[in-house]
């Protein structure tokens, strides 16, 4: 929607975003690749970082760097204030009730591994089941496989339909008395499907399962409210939302986190250590062994500020416009078949071209300066479901434009010129 007139909605101004101005905040978007202007459409893999995020990290490193929770000196206190201040920011960003419910992790992969090892390790017994869906990224499959194997539990996958949507009846049917944990993505990284997470959580919770929602793809595209969703765990990845790599957060309901054993041992997660017995810190620090990635946390804080300043509603509106335009322009081409046609979709367009392998398309588009992902997107079960080894995936962020969709279309002309 390229609305010409600013409109008022519930007293909030909904002027469309000034995309040209936003793009200026991302220096990487000015660079060239193979002599052509970069067209970056691989945002589901990682988003680019604005000035404020990079400068925030630099400022912290140049001015305030020290280890946290350790020193009485000024710098350590400042670093700790940064570290704990962002925790509060994350709490607000995902709508958690308590700040202690936010645990810093390396990313969503570590968050899921933490829950699988710590919660799963304690609560899964022989014959129990963990339910995921066929849509999941490998990071929401393999940690569960590992813990199921060691506990004698079984991993079950709920099927998806031809549009790439979880079949809710089947999902419901597969949650039985043995199902202890249900884990699913908020938004599919391979197809863009937005899952009805509130409904799915309600179904799982009503049957007594604990629910983890993988938010890797969601937090830059839709407002997350963990209490509204009702889930027990929710995972956040900074680098998929304009922040740095190697940092993320796990939201966990306090009662659950309190009762869970530590995931890793080390400094900062203890209250008192002797060779006879160690007393652990309370949450969240119980789960944050060792010197943390403080500059990453600072970057995560700046990324949240960036998103908040633009407004997720306006970002979603712009990205939805791009998806609709791309679906028409790219999906309308006779040689293109879109994979993933869910009614509710985030700004991801996965597609195939008859008779041309995605990797060859990726190479030709790269020659045009266009970065897309060609492959199985770490979601091989999704590819198997559609009977393809790989797809081409264009994924859009707030700084992308309709002109870039046109560039992608011209890139596909090149593909057809060579392969047609």
């Amino acid at each position: 929607m390229q609305a010409d007139q600013p409109t008022m909605d519930h007293g909030v101004e909904t002027t469309p975003l000034d995309i040209a101005r936003i793009r200026r905040e991302f220096p990487i978007l000015r660079r060239k690749v193979h002599g052509k202007p970069l067209v970056y459409l691989d945002n589901a893999a990682t988003t680019q970082r604005p000035h404020d995020v990079v400068e925030g990290i630099a400022r912290y490193s140049f001015r305030d760097n020290a280890n946290v929770h350790r020193g009485v000196h000024e710098l350590s206190q400042t670093a700790t204030a940064h570290y704990e201040g962002v925790r509060e920011k994350v709490r607000d960003f995902v709508g958690a009730e308590k700040t202690e419910e936010i645990v810093y992790v390396r990313g969503t992969t570590e968050a899921i591994n933490l829950v699988a090892a710590s919660y799963g390790g304690r609560h899964l017994n022989e014959g129990d089941e963990v339910l995921v869906t066929q849509l999941e990224h490998h990071s929401n499959i393999v940690p569960w496989q590992l813990i199921c194997e060691s506990r004698g539990a079984k991993l079950v996958a709920a099927p998806i339909n031809d549009d790439g949507e979880v079949i809710l009846d089947e999902f419901e049917r597969l949650i039985g008395p043995k199902t202890k944990i249900v884990a699913f993505s908020h938004i599919s990284n391979a197809l863009g499907t937005i899952n009805p997470v509130e409904r799915m959580t309600e179904i799982a919770k009503s049957r007594g399962a604990v629910v983890l929602v993988d938010g890797a793809q969601a937090t830059a595209h839709t407002k997350v409210d963990v209490r509204k969703i009702g889930c027990d765990f929710y995972t956040v990845s900074a680098h998929k939302m304009y922040g740095p790599m190697g940092i993320g957060a796990l939201y966990g309901r306090k009662e659950l986190l309190d009762a869970m054993p530590p995931y890793q041992g080390g400094g900062d997660m203890i209250r008192m250590v002797s060779f006879e017995k160690t007393l652990y810190s309370s949450v969240p620090h119980k789960f944050e062994a060792g010197t943390p990635n403080v500059e990453g946390v600072v970057g995560l804080g700046s990324a949240i500020d960036f998103i908040t300043s633009l407004g997720l509603d306006r970002m979603a509106e712009h990205e939805h416009d791009l998806l609709a335009y791309a679906t028409e322009v790219i999906g309308g081409r006779p040689e293109v078949r879109i994979v993933g046609t869910a009614r509710e979709k985030a700004s991801i367009l996965s597609f195939l071209i008859d008779g041309v392998h995605p990797h060859d398309i990726g190479t030709i588009l790269d020659g045009e300066g266009i970065a897309i992902r060609a492959g199985h997107h770490c979601a091989q079960p999704v590819m198997d479901r559609f009977g393809v080894p790989a797809t081409i995936r264009a994924s859009f962020a707030v700084y992308n434009t309709r002109e870039e969709v046109d560039a992608l279309a011209r890139g596909l002309d090149k593909v057809m010129e060579i392969f047609g």
């Binding site: 008779g355 995605p358 020659g367 492959g375 590819m383 080894p389 790989a390």
Partner: protein, 149 residues
Amino acid sequence: MSELRELYQELVLDHGKHPRNFHGMEDADRQSVGYNPLCGDKLTLYLKLEGDTVKDVSFQGAGCAISTASASLLTETLKGRTRAEVDQVIREFIHMLTEGSPDDDVEHLGKLVVFQGVREFPVRVKCATLAWRTLEAALHGQDEPVTTE
């Protein structure tokens, strides 16, 4: 664009689209599976030996134009060659794509020279060498699937 044309030459496009010897082989003496976990390309290579000589070679699988064309041209190249000759072609082919320089004399590789341009696309080298690594495994009797990673 010229580098791309170099990569996707007519011969590559032709063999990518219409691979030769593209079938299974029930009476194969050796077979081996090659897999590229990064892109999901997977192929099975079949060999029939007569004494020291490759009597027949075929392949099956799914892959990009580069890996399919490379496997296809491999099968055309190797029929009738001795094992020692095959080993040498494998070595020279992989060398051309990895360590070689554009000025090397590779004419003796015949049609396989068409893949010299792949060297300019480092992420695609694995596509071009997959069939050859798999062939190596088939010849030398490795049972484990070959993977590019």
